[in-house]
């Protein structure tokens, strides 16, 4: 898994790329939690994630909870079908704020 972090209009966009699985999800988890610890509003761009297993989804859940505790906005953007199916299986689409594109996610956080 690769990742990239960019500041866009005062929002931190964390773009993950590749597979987020048992091997790589600890890196994604640490990355997200570190950004949230810096009180960053986050958009997690999943457009280049082909596969995410439950450990990746669990990392997103933990990051969301941490963001809420700190009052930081947290949006998951551009989720592919395969990842969305796993998220929906556990009804987490009702918990996460999902946006169709990164730009939509940034706009939602700037508005909120």
């Amino acid at each position: 898994m690769k990742y990239e972090t960019n500041d866009v209009e005062g929002v931190t966009v964390v773009a993950l790329e590749g597979d987020v699985d048992l091997e790589s999800s600890p890196v994604a988890r640490r990355l997200l939690l570190d950004q949230i610890a810096r009180n960053q509003r986050l958009v997690v761009d999943l457009s280049r994630v082909g596969y995410m297993d439950s450990s990746g989804v669990a990392s997103l859940v933990e990051a969301l909870q941490s963001a809420r505790k700190r009052g930081c906005g947290f949006v998951i953007a551009a989720t592919g079908d395969a990842v969305l199916r796993v998220i929906r299986l556990a009804r987490l689409d009702r918990v996460f704020t999902l946006s169709a594109t990164v730009q939509d996610g940034i706009a939602a956080l700037r508005k909120g």
Binding site: L22, S54, V61, A82, L89
Partner: protein, 277 residues
Amino acid sequence: MASPHSSPRGKAIEVEHLETQYGSRKVLKNVSLAVDDGEIMVVMGGSGSGKSTLMRAILGLQRPTAGTIRVLGEDIAGLGTRKMAALRRRFGVAFQGGALFSSMTVGDNIMLPLREHSDLDERTMEIMARIKLEVVNLAGFENLMPSELSGGMLKRAAFARAIIMDPKILFCDEPSAGLDPVVSSTIDDLILRLREAMDMTVVVVTHDLDSAFKIADRITILDEGRILFVGTPDEVRAQKNQRIQDLLNRRPPEEALDPEAYLRRLTGESPSGEPVS
């Protein structure tokens, strides 16, 4: 019935000319079978037909006396201990009795494979276990002991453990055994949802006809260690074969009776007429 998938797929499991035996008794006889990626294959047959033995052989728990078994592209006969363990990490197995450790909470049972096979943070593992409990409709049960669960709950907890590692292939041994029809139906729905969401290949061993017809893409019927038929549920229903019709109509097979042998069994005499001591 589940919709048979239409696009061409690879093979998750390929069994060719498989033979197994217990002692001198042959159990599986020249069994050849392929299961596609993402397919739900139900293996049916009467008691002693060899269906559980077939599953054990595919899992690498029963050594064949002949034939080959390829799982996720690997010939399991040629795998060393480490490679076999790596392959098994891509399986999930929901055993008939649940097979949860009675001394551990439900949550610890579910996290056990993660603790053995990953270096994930404890918090991540806990969230994963709770996600799987949500999926099997056991939210909030992580701190209970297995003895505090009903039969249907135990089955679902066993499913949660079987899928904790997001397996490529899920094996289910008699998932509806001992459950009432309503609970059994929820297990069927769970299998269908898991396949849909996670694109798993699922192999179900059962003799529950309703369940088989509801979830199967294809059904394999075993009879006395041989494959009698492999086909879609509609193809199975249309079969005229007497053994298949007996199975569908829940009729025990007519046993071939040798009157002489039967009489000898009753009187305890040997074929020469001498009393058997």
